[in-house]
Amino acid sequence: MTERGAVAPFRALVRLLHRVEDGLSSVLLAAMVLLPLAEIVVRQTGTGIPGALPFEQHLTLWIAFLGAALAAREGRLLALATGNFLPEGRFRAIAAVFTGGVSAMVTTLLGRASLDLVQIEREGGIEMAAGVPVWVGQAVMPVGFAVLALRLAWKSSELWAGRALAAFGIVLGLWIGGSAEAFGELPATPWLVLILASTLLGGPIFAALGGAAVFLFLSDFVPLAAIPAESYRLAVSPTLAAIPLFTLTGFLLAEGGASERLLRVFRALFGWAPGSTAVVCAVVCAFFTVFTGGSGVTILALGGVLFAALSADGYRERFSLGLLTSSGSLGLLLPPALPLILFGIVAEVPIEDLFIGGILPGLLLIALIAAWGVREGLRAGAGGTSISGKEEGGATGPGDWEGLPPVLRRLLPPGVIEMVSAVWVGKWELLLPVVVLGAFFSGYATLVETAALAALYAFVVQCLIHRDVKLGKPLLAVFRQCTVLVGGVLIILVVAMGLTSWLVDVQAAQGLVELVQNNIESKILFLLLLNVFLLLVGCLMDIFSATVVVVPLIIPLGLAFGVDPIHLGIIFVANLELGYLTPPVGLNLFLASYRFERPLLEIYRAAVPALVILGVGVLLITYVPVLTLGLLDLLGRS
């Protein structure tokens, strides 16, 4: 934050507030991990912690708003990638003031509406648990939106004049909120156009979704508190806490040396075959994405080391770029990937059925990408590992397993020694899926408790066993980064829920079912149109808000055409996975461009083969339902 010209006491105060904010977010995230763990322990004694789940749910709400405020402070609220096309300089500066002002206006309206909600809840609301009223939990919403609005205005420009212009948005928001009836008489369309313009120019996505909800509800004369009421409902839904917890797991793994250790294991196991490095990249990326779930962490965390490995093994640069860009979304169908969890929450279908249903389709997509890699390896003559583990970091080098008896060390060929050592060194990471899926499917822990267990496990492995993440400041930095990312995602989710609520209010799903049924009879045609529609959604929206807004619309459609909801869920996520790669605005394309420091056009070209290959996979998943439902049938779950 630029604070030139501000007086010293003001600066000190701001610094203090920032420290309180950082500290609070870390404490709450830690509490989110510890509370479900304590509940697992206490449950063994036949009792439970009073209010454990309600408190956990409200912690998610707090993390969402604190994280969003932090993201705004760092200018890291998620935005459409279209903003990146703006030319540098004057035009970009003006656009920033415009988007800042519009977003601040929307955020102010949402904040005002949240305040109404809190007041209504105070007047005759219910208890969260253990004597704490619900409104205390909700109070974070108006405060969070207020901080967001101020920061949006502040960050919109380096100049006081720019900030003042953007802050006019706050005034406008207060005015509109105060005369809702009068604004209800006006059509919503001009406002929606304004918001769309701001979004395309790089305004934050949450403001786009929230702004649409605000003006659509206004024009229907529905009190705006309906929006935060629905945001609150989603934020405190019992399973949502799994998302921040699995994200924390992913962050701890990414910050620790997990990627190097896993890379070494898979290379030791498969490195002898031509094209194997490509296969290994796909598998390692999938492994990571399972836990970080579409947040783009995979490309950012692993892109560098994997790109280096591919180049060293003689893969063409364009192939390597394409592979890594596409691998960033591999794994979204494998348990416990976050998009599946969110789909389960929104569609109200059993999450474990989605987990089981996603296994074969998920493996199929990995296999297709891997096959592409093998073909490239054969063609380019690339493959066999040229980089030994040692060059990637002394700690994970071969032979560092002291437990291997000297006799074996002399007898066994070096390749086998490396294999055994690599597996031994990476055993804790390799066991993570066993721990997570075992705890969940054995009935030992609920999904949220499983997620907390995974976070604890990752903490123990990375911080205590391997000590790749030092306790104290480095660990706090991981917590903080995780909160920023989670907040950025959750704020979009909870605000998107307000837009969904409007769609429910106007009974959009029923209307859509009628419209589609009157025009389409064949299920095949319906599925094809669904594919095209979801591809468009996937390249315009992030997977999380797409789930919240689009799933309630397509579930009744699917039922009308006899598509199993679990199958629909897998089609949905697979399609959106593809959307990430679709030019011009697929999210992974931008992340890859940023990570590998290549122009977007080059990334587009590199990603085309992967797009085609995965497209075939998505069509297979769509039209061969047994891929999804076969395993479920086998287990007697359908």
Binding site: G46, G51, E230, I351, E352, T446, L447
Partner: protein
């Protein structure tokens, strides 16, 4: 322009209740010449009952068909319908309900709601994934309770049961993985959510009649003319009658249907273990009085029920007496 009353409910789209609400809406529209119509938001699309209540206070929805758990969030007096084995028969329950209605109506009125009619979801029964007939057998099973409902969880524990507090979304998984073994729900609900496929034993003792009610916010009520309100009330009364007449029959048919699909009915009522169940239910009831169920409503309901029982027993005895005199 007409006034569209937006009514939210957890009753699923296409369920019997949904059908009754639809016809209520048609009655309203016809009776008011289109001045008042009804749009139903079924199946929890508007959220769970606390969400629905919140949105009614906000003004997004005007009406709701709530279960007793949502009603209890408006007034604690509604917990009187959560006392286990309190009624011997549905007739007894309907009689007591009739007597308590004026008082409960007043409670709703105090909180800004108008009672349009009662609803009924059916008798809550245990569904278990291991056969359980005696109280001891049930006490060995892990029973689902609502996370956040501490009072309920505490009763179970004090009664020697093993409650496991989970979110409703964890029920299916919990039954599958063995985190829970049993849950208490009305049969029609168990059928619609297919719980009975994962909890294949049906303990044949009705625990609690799950009541409901159609309520309208006063704010919406005040937008309706005096004459049209009569039409709305009449529509609500007809929906109530239809529900009371048909749900018990549908419930019996549902149990038969589930039995034909693999549900094993475990007999309890009329067997030697019934007394044990009554005893433990009585302990529960005594514990609830003053804690969850306000004393006044508890005592009033008990008095009305006992008077009705006496009268019924006297009537049953009367023909017998005349027989013996002949």
């Amino acid at each position: 322009a007409g006034f569209t009353i937006k009514m939210a409910t957890l009753s699923p789209d296409g369920s019997p209740w949904d059908g009754f609400f639809e016809s209520m809406g048609q009655d309203w529209e016809k009776g008011t010449d289109g001045r008042v119509s009804l749009t139903i938001y079924p199946g929890g699309v508007a959220g769970d009952e606390p969400d629905i209540l919140r949105k009614m206070k906000i003004g997004q929805y005007h009406a709701a068909a709530l279960s007793v758990s949502g009603l209890a969030d408006i007034s604690k007096d509604f917990t009187v319908f959560e006392i286990p084995l309190f009624f011997r028969s549905e007739q007894e329950m309907f009689h007591v309900l009739g007597e308590l209605t004026p008082g409960l109506r007043a409670k709703l009125d105090e909180k800004g709601f108008v009672l349009l009619g009662w609803g009924y979801v059916g008798q809550v029964h245990f569904f278990t994934n291991r056969r359980a007939r005696t109280v001891e057998e049930m006490q060995r099973l892990k029973i689902f309770t609502w996370a956040g409902d501490e009072a309920m969880t505490d009763w179970w524990r004090q009664g020697g049961f093993k409650p496991v507090a989970l979110a409703a979304t964890d029920i299916v998984t919990g039954l599958q993985t063995g985190m829970i073994d049993a849950l208490a729900v009305p049969p029609i609900y168990a059928m619609s959510v297919q719980f009975f496929k994962r909890a294949k034993y049906f303990a044949d003792i009705p625990l609690i009649p799950m009541m409901g009610a159609i309520v309208v916010t006063k704010r919406a009520w005040n937008r309706v003319s005096e004459a049209d309100r009569k039409v709305l009330v009449e529509g609500g009364r007809r929906a109530e009658n239809r529900i009371f007449e048909t749900i018990p029959t549908i419930e019996q048919a549902t149990i038969k249907l589930m039995a034909s699909q693999g549900l094993e009915v475990v007999p309890i009522v009329g067997t030697e273990v019934e007394e044990d169940w009554k005893r433990i239910a009585n302990d529960f009831a005594e514990d609830m009085r003053g804690k969850t169920v306000p004393e006044a409503i508890f005592d009033r309901a008990t008095a009305v029920r006992d008077a009705y029982r006496e009268q019924q027993e006297a009537e049953a005895a009367a023909p017998a007496a005349s027989d013996s005199g002949r």
